[in-house]
């Protein structure tokens, strides 16, 4: 049987973080253990950036220090998520083997001196990565501290080098078989780009003017697949040595470079790194989106591999977390399915590029507010762990998302650079989140029949099967709402005749899509009952069977449908302002029989059900009283809650009947 997160949690919520003891003298390790235990830490991630320490010169193996650490952790009851160190090769690798360094589209080498300076396509890199992984896995396969494998770290490199070009050709040969098929898929008849020899095909480098969009799309697919090959190679090595501990690699949320649906299938545990800006008024919504997506990829409990106890150091201005926010956001992750709440990193570094990125133990040390709050969080998670770990809740509502569609829609020659896929996705998720409607994410080819309502913020490119899937879903009684720029292209980024798939047009009651009318940055378009942003469309409705729910008012589109409905299929041809989209989706959800988590919730309170537990999270600095019909027990305080509960500043409750 496939290992799962439960094999590592064993009924607890994992609490801990990345631990980089290489930076510290051994006496600090013992101090660390003392503080970890005082904070309820039960899991640390070791080895993420240890390659140069393990293999200081080519072929060397220095495991003794790691042996001592593994033993130390085990001796203190702390499990180890052991990382392959392949995200950051030692300097000698780049020096001896320049082909291991990535090259960007402008021809610039990415040198060592930072991190992730590896070419995913380099055979040399892969060979060295496999060798160190092999020896690491062999050495610690039976170590009792080992609870999970962490492969590489935040896979996120592109490469336009010659070695990447060679692999790209192979990848394309596998995808297309013949050059004719490639020429057809890429539409190379335009601009005289017909390829007559595989050797002519290149990574899409700096060009005089717009590059071929299908080539760029395939390069993104290729990148995701090359990184996946790197992951699979290491995963298979550790699995060979240790069939039991689950394997993960940590995603960066909504990162453009990886098809996370595809990757999640190859992971035992889906994990993610999540860093909302503490100053962002919608930081909690961003977190909820990422958590919903990660849970959906995991199809159950997941792991928050990294968050920050305080500020990060890669924004322009990096804000700390106000008192209580770390706890609130940690509980939010658990509410939305996390069975592990971890941080980058345990102890804040004194040196290196991230010395102003916070740690669970900040520069202020044991007496600092940051560590004090960590202690409280650790204690509370230990308390609620047995009641929530492993539980899951089904939702009635799904949001569709697909990386390939995002990639295709992002081409440089599109109609509006104002349209940014993640922003559109976020706008739709926000409308649901503010309506207290909890949603899963799904891929457009996933089975959808379990959902009463499916929303499509934007799926610019759809395969024929995905369209089949959507049509079948509606025909079987589902309600579908779609935003604009959906079904425009096929999987080769070929615009479908009519500018939108004919079957989808029929579904929504669109006779002719005459023109797209993108809006300027701050432009608004008046519609009946609301104002639209970002986009509008010149649509001619079918003569009957479809209803103009709201028409454009004034301007060139006066009287044409802004929101169109044909039976259970809705089409929204603009992006309503936030409160308008919220109102619209609430209305559609109600008609589809989808209910909010709780009635009468104040706006600043997020409510989430997980198993039998009801999480209530106050995202405001002001206290608030929440009506909760019936009697519950608050797992955090043990108190009995009857009919209502008052949550303090950034307060939370975990109620059970």
């Amino acid at each position: 049987m496939k290992p799962t997160l439960a094999d590592a949690t064993r009924g607890r919520i994992l609490f801990g973080g990345d631990y980089n003891p290489e930076q510290w003298p051994e006496e600090t390790w013992h101090e660390d253990v003392r503080l970890m235990k005082a904070a309820g830490v039960n899991s640390v991630t070791l080895g993420v950036f240890s390659w140069a320490k393990l293999e200081p010169v080519p072929g060397a193996r220095e495991f003794a220090w790691l042996d001592r650490l593994m033993d130390l952790m085990h001796g203190n009851g702390i499990g180890v998520v052991l990382a392959t160190p392949t995200a950051s090769p030692p300097p000698w690798l780049g020096r001896l083997h320049p082909d291991t360094l990535p090259v960007d589209q402008d021809g610039r080498t990415e040198w060592w001196g930072g991190r992730q300076h590896f070419s995913h396509s380099s055979t040399t890199y892969r060979r060295h990565a496999a060798a160190i992984t092999e020896d690491l896995a062999a050495r610690y396969a039976n170590h009792p501290a080992l609870t999970m494998w962490h492969i590489n770290n935040e896979y996120c490199t592109y490469d336009w080098s010659n070695q990447a070009a060679a692999r790209f050709r192979t990848w394309l040969q596998r995808r297309y078989g013949t050059l004719d098929a490639l020429n057809t898929a890429w539409g190379t008849a335009f601009w005289s780009q017909g390829y007559g020899d595989w050797a002519e095909v290149h990574t899409p480098r700096h060009a005089h003017y717009l590059r071929n969009p299908a080539q760029v799309l395939d390069f993104k697919r290729f990148t995701s697949d090359m990184l996946l090959e790197c992951y699979l190679a290491e995963r298979d090595i550790v699995r060979r040595h240790t069939p039991h501990p689950p394997v993960t690699t940590n995603f960066m949320p909504l990162w453009a470079g990886q098809d996370a649906w595809r990757w999640a299938e190859e992971e035992d545990v889906v994990s993610v790194d999540l860093y909302p800006d503490p100053r962002d008024p919608l930081g909690a919504q961003h977190a909820a989106l990422v958590q919903d997506m990660t849970r959906s990829q995991a199809r159950g409990p997941w792991m928050l591999m990294e968050q920050a106890a305080g500020p990060v150091n890669w924004r322009g201005v990096n804000h700390p977390k106000p008192r209580g926010l770390n706890r609130l956001w940690s509980l939010q992750a658990v509410a939305r399915g996390a069975d592990a709440v971890c941080y980058f990193q345990w102890r804040q570094s004194r040196q290196g590029a991230e010395k102003f990125h916070s740690g669970m133990v900040s520069h202020a040390g044991e007496q600092g507010r940051t560590y004090q709050e960590i202690q409280r969080i650790g204690a509370e998670l230990a308390g609620i762990g047995p009641e929530v770990a492993g539980t899951h809740t089904a939702n009635d509502l799904a949001i569709l998302h697909d990386w390939h569609s995002w990639w295709a829609g992002a081409h440089e020659g599109r109609l509006s650079t104002e349209v940014d896929h993640p922003q559109v996705l976020t706008a739709w998720h926000r409308a649901l989140w503010e309506s207290h409607l909890t949603a899963d994410f799904a891929h457009p080819e996933h089975g959808l029949t379990a959902y009463k309502l499916v929303v499509v913020p934007q799926l610019y490119a759809l395969t024929d099967s995905a369209i089949d899937n959507l049509l079948a879903y509606v025909h079987q009684g589902g309600t579908l709402v779609s935003g604009f720029l959906t079904g425009v292209a096929d999987e080769d980024d070929r615009v479908r005749p009519g500018g939108m798939d004919a079957r989808l047009r029929e579904l929504f009651g669109i006779r002719t899509l005459h023109e797209w009318w993108p809006l300027e940055e701050r432009e608004r378009v008046e519609c009946e009952g609301f104002r639209g942003t970002l986009w509008s469309e010149e649509i001619e409705r079918v003569a009957d069977g479809a209803e103009t729910v709201a028409a454009y008012k004034g301007g060139e589109l006066d009287g044409l449908p802004a929101v169109l409905r044909s039976g259970r299929a809705w089409y929204v041809s603009t992006l309503p302002e936030p409160s308008d989209l919220r109102e619209l989706l609430s209305r559609i959800a109600a008609q589809a029989g989808v209910r909010p988590v709780l009635d009468g919730l104040p706006p600043q309170v997020e409510a989430v059900r997980r198993g039998e537990a009801l999480f209530l999270l106050n995202h405001a600095r002001e206290p608030v009283t929440v009506p909760v019909p019936g009697t519950h027990r608050d797992l955090l305080t043990g108190a009995t809650v009857a009919d209502e509960i008052t949550l303090g500043r950034y307060g939370a409750a975990v109620l059970k009947p």
Copy 2:
């Protein structure tokens, strides 16, 4: 006798566009022909991006598909503007001959995968381009469909490569003869740049600090000349095969890289690509400027080679054309001398980098609004063609423009980066356009005596002959108005003593030009009766003979002349705000005896005379009534117009007495 556009139009207005049938199955070709005929299309441009199709592997020749197309067009009465395919070489050329790829000033190669990835200086590229041109010309020399030759496409590449450097040296040797002369012209005594060997001279690549401005100026001249050499080589080949069909290459309007005055001399037909932003309130004025300039370069009728039926795809936000605008702007082109109204492209692409650039047949197809409007335009142009094609009208007013002066003035070490030559030129043209004064453009060394008024928005660098020309013009009775930064430098970009040519200073009554006072972006300077923008000057007027028409008020320049006049010579040392410049130029024009096209025109109506026809164009969405003394016939409707006519939203009339 030299071929002309009339050889192709034969009394009609050409209507059609770029046709890229390579992208479509042959059954679509027949559908295309049906739709073309229904829309009155009488001309298509073939082959612009066909090199890879014609020569899929080095040395191959695949003409059969093009034979069929040429026959198909001819069989349906549609003429063909046949393009040499040399703007976009096939991938194999770059792969086998890396010297055919341009290199930018930072050393980055411009790879294939987009378009125009050819080095104008590459002997290899030129050889291959000549070979395919030769065979294309030989094959279709006598084909009855052939009406015109279209060489390459939108020449617009720079190249800093080693092969470009080699040709630059040769070009400089031809220009200067000796290194001493080059050192003198470039002022290399400054910053220790003296060249002792031709091999030391380079293209002006990335440098630590400001590069030599004369070197950069010559590099721009060289670029224009190298591109021209490419054009001439292909032109001469097709002329050798076919003396009759006229030859053109399509300009990008006001593009910085080509001295279009010089180029136009080498074309039988001057053609231009014109893409005003449909959302730009001054889009029509921008179009009028380009049309006036193109007509002046052509010295008669010209060809609108490319416009868009709807949106383009290279702006940040790309807007479609509201209903009626395509027709209005097409008629505007005819009014200002176009005998051909063509589009990029016939059928909107489903694939490739420009699939969101509109076509005459949009994604919405036959029933789409775009094609419906195309049909109307085709019909109307066919109707008025016999009455206007080939006609021309002389103007009393000329605006001077010169690329070399623009190039010299654009150096990175100038006094104000806010001063942008095209913006200054546009501001002056706008003032005239809004005053209903129609203008030609002329080069500063052209004969000017036919004009009552000559305006110089800005000619930073002037040759001695140009100055002779201006002085002679005024001395022979002409009225001259000049904006600031005129006559500052000579043709080597050497500042003339006194900061402005002494004879010009004398002409305008300037004793001493103490200092230039550029203004900040939104800064305004108060003058008597108006406010100035962008620039001001500390000028000491000659004691007598010159008049301060308007003085600066307040500030450091208080009382000094903002507008200075000495007889018929006017000098405007700032850029008055739009309505102020309009008022000033109207006044000067009236004094010089230059009249608006029609009296009493509403502001939103553009009126242009062409031959006997009077075009009236309503650029507003609101209908408007225009007084037109006398009785006319409207060529568009056949109606009789007595004393006034009402134009609807974006409405137009073409009146004949």
Copy 3:
């Protein structure tokens, strides 16, 4: 005895500028001499950009033209500051020896065609620079015109090339001895950057993500040191030939690339180039800051090597100097210790990259306002020279500044990119300048006991000795005021435990520094009595012995100390708005016994004492009356001043009792 500026001034103020006669025919040289004499010019700088003229082909020596110039100057009583021409090598050097060209971090070569295209690390460059310096020094060692040596010009190049990498390794070996020490200092345990071989160590080139901050810091140190090696090599050559004339190289003020404290030790004369923006309302304060810093580096009189008589040409919009401003700012330089007031350049160039950079003789020539004002300045400086040249005044107040601390604090991974060291420094200096408090600058390891008050705008990194020094200063009775982000890191940019040095925390009364709270660009934080900008801090004060002078109000930091005081040590954890910081520092200064230059000064008047002279400078266009108790003589006019004096627009007075 070491030569000094006095050897060149001989009781006068030097007045003149860069003279580039290479650009002009010899007849112009004689015209120049006439105008120089009429303007009181007594010093010109020759040869700065003469390498290509002196050595037009490799190994040639063409001195005859320079001989004639030296003689001409001497014959007319004008001294020559003779420059080594090594800042701008001739084209042949780069062509024959590509290793002499710098390479930037992206791998781009910096080509000739501009200036300063030399690699400081290139052995070839150094050899050629030494050779021409040798011959120049030998030839003019005994020329009577020679008054000073000017080495190179505005040293300011970085280099990431392979030759720079080789020297970087050598430099690091000298600094650290062993790789272990380097690995420790750079914290390479983080991100797996451990070096196992010196050959792996590189210049910090383009990387995938944040580069190692200690490596970047050392690269900046290395750059300063390599440039210094270039300087020293040439200095030692000229000294060998001519022990007497003092040697200088001109600094760019507050330029990030040079540790000017270290460099100043190696100069006989400290000189600087100073170009405040005439439109900047704080231009005079910027100038005062640079002048104070230069005087402090010189420990006495210094040389204003370059200023502009009018506009420069490297800003976006370049403004001329209003009438009188050139004189006012020249006198300001003298007030703050300059014994030489010079310009770039004598005669404005007609060609080359700087032809719109003003000269003492502008394009308008002899009758131009610019030269007219130059004549007045020359006469006045000649008048006051004997009374002020060589004099010096001690100050009670020092501002600490250190390049290494600036470099360390500027790392890309810092908490706020809004925090810009020069801006913080400027804000503090401005507060003092507006309070009429004159300050010296000092290095944190300098002796400070002569000062009553020491202010530390920001010293992010401090060595242990510097901390010793600050503590000793306070313990010996000094008053210390420090801004935020001081003492955070040690000299390897290692964050000190607690986020700030423990001894400093103790000094200021800080128990725990919980978190830094950087502010957004326009964000303000309310404090008792003022508003803070840029930064705030979550500080826990020690229980007793420290006083919260002003607390934060509202928000997360409500009640915590914004300004903290423990005895004579003050800590300001935000940047108060300008008037608030001025008020705060005035108050602290008064308590420390530091007095303004004069009581009752109007805000727009700057007052500076130099020796016995009191300079009064009116920075406004409106006249102003200044109370001056007692009777003085105005050295500029000879008038007697009793109790008060009225200064006109941009007016000045130099009063002596």
